[in-house]
């Protein structure tokens, strides 16, 4: 009994001192700032920065491989704290970006056929390129909703994906998840957006969707700042030039241009259609 105790105690002492020696002899110097930066980072490990999780980015920032504003999720306040930890001045022209779904067709976009299969956009998109009549219509199964770690996306009552700009962190995961490439990143502050991605000619658009861009150029004529162009039958806003005067949204015959400042939104077309159906 005593022998066993003594043996164990001696063994413990020997191995313990070996470990203690190894710990001091082979110690890896770690920059304390890595932990500090990692504490400030959001900790979602979403991968939007391109590094393997927040830990990977923290190391990259401290090593100088990544800029202090590399994390799109945190936003300016967080970049500021990282800059303080790193002891540098925050010089960034990086704007906060949020995701925008370029479709508001949903129930007003007709179906080409009845789809019965796996309820995922990427699966539906493989069958005859998707059950919507419009080749750029939101399929509404919510692959983007599943991809969003921040709860910023939902399929709204009209059957289209919609981003909550307050919750959106700009990580861009939804952009990759959409099989139809309908989601793009826009400056968070901007209020005027074209909610359509359809490049089909106007006459055909009318047949498939009530809130589709016809490429009629009414918006181009209305814009005094050369900030909206029709390219390949689709109106596209140049956010650098846009002053948010809202003239384009006012003139759009299909009301497909959103102007959040003046409460103009294709949602109104859905509501009008709903009222018509009810009466």
């Amino acid at each position: 009994m005593i022998g066993a105790l003594v043996t164990l105690a001696v063994l413990g002492l020997v191995f313990g001192s070996l470990l203690a020696y190894a710990a001091s002899r082979f110690r890896v110097e770690r920059d304390p700032r890595v932990d500090e930066v990692q504490d400030v980072l959001p900790g979602a490990n979403c991968g939007a920065c391109g590094y393997p999780g927040c830990g990977g980015l923290a190391e990259a920032i401290v090593d100088g491989r990544a800029p202090v504003d590399a994390c799109p999720v945190g936003g300016p306040a967080m970049w500021e704290s990282i800059a303080r930890i790193m002891g540098v001045e925050l010089t960034t022209d990086r704007e906060r970006m949020v995701a925008k779904v370029r479709c508001f067709g949903g129930t007003l976009c007709s179906d080409a056929f009845r789809y019965r299969g796996i309820e995922q956009c990427r699966a539906a998109a493989l069958v005859q390129k998707g059950p919507k009549a419009c080749p750029s219509g939101c399929l509404g199964f919510g692959d983007c909703v599943a991809a969003c770690q921040f709860g910023a996306l939902r399929i709204n009552r009209y059957g289209v994906a919609e981003v909550d700009p307050e919750r959106c962190t700009g990580c861009g995961k939804c952009v990759q998840a959409c099989p139809r490439q309908l989601i793009h990143m826009v400056p968070a502050g901007k209020k005027v957006h074209v909610l359509c991605a359809n490049t089909v000619r106007g006459a055909k658009v009318r047949k498939m969707c009530k809130v589709g861009c016809l490429g009629c150029r009414a918006c181009v004529r209305a814009c005094e700042y050369d900030a909206i162009q029709v390219d390949n039958n689709l109106a596209v806003i140049d956010y650098a030039k846009c002053t948010e005067c809202g003239a384009c949204a006012q003139k759009c015959p299909t009301k497909v241009i959103e102007d959040a400042g003046r409460q103009l939104h294709p949602r109104a077309v859905h509501e009008a259609a709903g009222r018509e159906a009810a009466s």
Partner: protein
């Protein structure tokens, strides 16, 4: 001798009785044809005619410089009324040449028979295959001229003529073997001559005794040809399964091809079309299709001009017997569900199947019970249940490591699954993602 077969696969009811005894008839004479500029595997064609131009039957209307491509030709004589994107049976819209028929079906003066096969060199045959826009008529529409030009260093010793026609409902190849066995043999010999192969085997499933009989008789005068009888099992008509059954050779996994084991496989329909091109000089402007299913008033095997709208074909067969719930181009196992009947017959159209609601009903999938029947059924030796589960969870890299790309989408797993899980559909999702990443990496 026991019929030859492969491992895996499923027994499917074949429903061929609707059309298997009906002789091939001349199909509708369309007033307008839509010739898509992409009907084949490979690079799409550029139009070679202009709007307003008058064209004749057999005149080239689209061609490409690419090696893997096949030109397209006018199937009627008349005026080119439009060159614009039109709905395509494989989904979306594809640039197409639209020709309004003048009802005369006047043939282009350059369309002349090439002369007897004995006097043609392999190079001449290959050029003819390319110029006539010949593609594999089994469904994948791979350019035949490319298929008979194996890369340097690959020695081909056997040619297989695929007459298995294992898809339920389809009988076009069956009827060709019964009605035109000599032409099928002529086309087969032409393809073999182009390849320089000395041994050819016609492979037929044992549910077509009359076709076996006819092919045996037609191959009799040619000592280099024989007929192999395969057991009726789906997917016997798949290249790799056919090679395994008839020759016992195993094609290596992708990018392995039949020519890696010294084999080239071509379809009965292709051989017949090659014979037609040889004897008449006409390029590939028509093909035999089976129009069938419970919703067709008079099911038929028809010789149809490429570009004929599906709607004209169905009207020609007496219209609907009852309203179809599902329209499929091809067979029920691997065919492509259609948006409607406004699309044209293309080179790869082997049939048109109209199914009623009760046959088209997709049942509610139940959870996987891990019975393993999909594993037994998979002719490629894959694990469909795991591939599908990974695909549905978006774990595509794991699906890739389980060889998702080896899946040929034959549908045996989905057919056999007692829980009615959409296995092939899920695997297709994974394959699409894996292929997209491979393409991105290559760039």
């Amino acid at each position: 001798m026991a019929a030859k077969t492969f491992s895996g696969g499923v027994q499917v009811p074949h429903y061929k009785e609707l059309t298997e005894h009906l002789p091939i008839r001349e199909g509708p004479r369309p007033t307008e044809v839509v010739i898509p500029l992409s009907q084949h595997t490979g690079a799409p064609c550029e139009p070679t005619v202009r709007r307003g131009e008058r064209v004749l039957v057999g005149q080239k209307v689209g061609d490409s410089e690419a090696f893997v491509s096949a030109p397209v030709h006018a199937s009627v004589s008349g005026k080119v009324v439009a060159i614009e994107p039109r709905p395509h049976p494989l989904g979306g819209e594809v640039l197409a040449v639209v020709i309004e028929s003048d009802g005369e079906f006047a043939v282009h003066p350059e369309v002349k028979p090439l002369g007897p096969l004995e006097e043609l060199s392999p190079e001449q045959i290959k050029r003819m295959l390319r110029e006539s826009g010949m593609v594999g008529l089994g469904g994948a529409a791979f350019p035949t001229a490319v298929k008979v030009s194996p890369p340097e260093g690959k020695h081909i010793d056997v040619f297989l003529l695929n007459g298995a026609e294992c898809e339920p409902y389809l009988t076009a190849d069956h009827r060709l073997m019964v009605e035109h066995p000599e032409d099928v043999v002529l086309g087969m010999r032409a393809l073999m001559k182009a390849l320089g192969v000395g041994r050819g085997i016609v492979c037929v499933e044992d549910n077509k005794p009359d076709a076996i009989e006819a092919m045996k008789k037609a191959t009799m005068p040619h000592s280099e040809l024989e007929v192999a009888v395969c057991r009726t099992k789906y997917p016997q008509g798949s290249e790799k399964q056919l090679i395994k059954a008839v020759l016992g050779r195993e094609v290596p996994p992708p990018p392995g091809l039949p020519l890696d084991v010294g084999v080239v496989v071509n379809n009965v329909g292709t051989a017949w079309a090659v014979a037609r091109a040889l004897t008449t000089g006409l390029p590939l402007v028509e093909r035999v299709i089976t129009v069938t299913g419970p919703c067709v008033a008079q099911p038929a095997n028809l010789l149809v001009r490429i570009g004929t709208p599906f709607s004209s074909v169905v009207d020609f067969c007496g219209g609907f017997a009852s309203a179809p719930a599902k329209i499929i181009m091809g067979g029920p196992m691997m065919g492509v569900a259609q948006r409607g009947l406004e699309v044209p017959v293309i080179k790869g159209t082997s049939g048109l199947l109209l199914l009623p609601e009760e046959d088209a009903l997709a049942q509610q999938p139940q959870p996987c019970i891990r019975c393993g029947r999909c594993v037994e059924a998979c002719p490629m030796g894959l694990l469909p249940l795991l591939l599908a589960a990974y695909a549905e969870q978006g774990r595509f890299e794991e699906a890739e490591s389980l060889r998702a790309l080896n899946c040929m989408e034959c549908g045996s797993c989905s057919y056999i699954c007692p829980a009615r899980r959409p296995l092939v559909h899920a695997i297709r999702v994974a394959k699409a993602d894996i292929m997209a990443r491979l393409r991105a990496r290559r760039k």
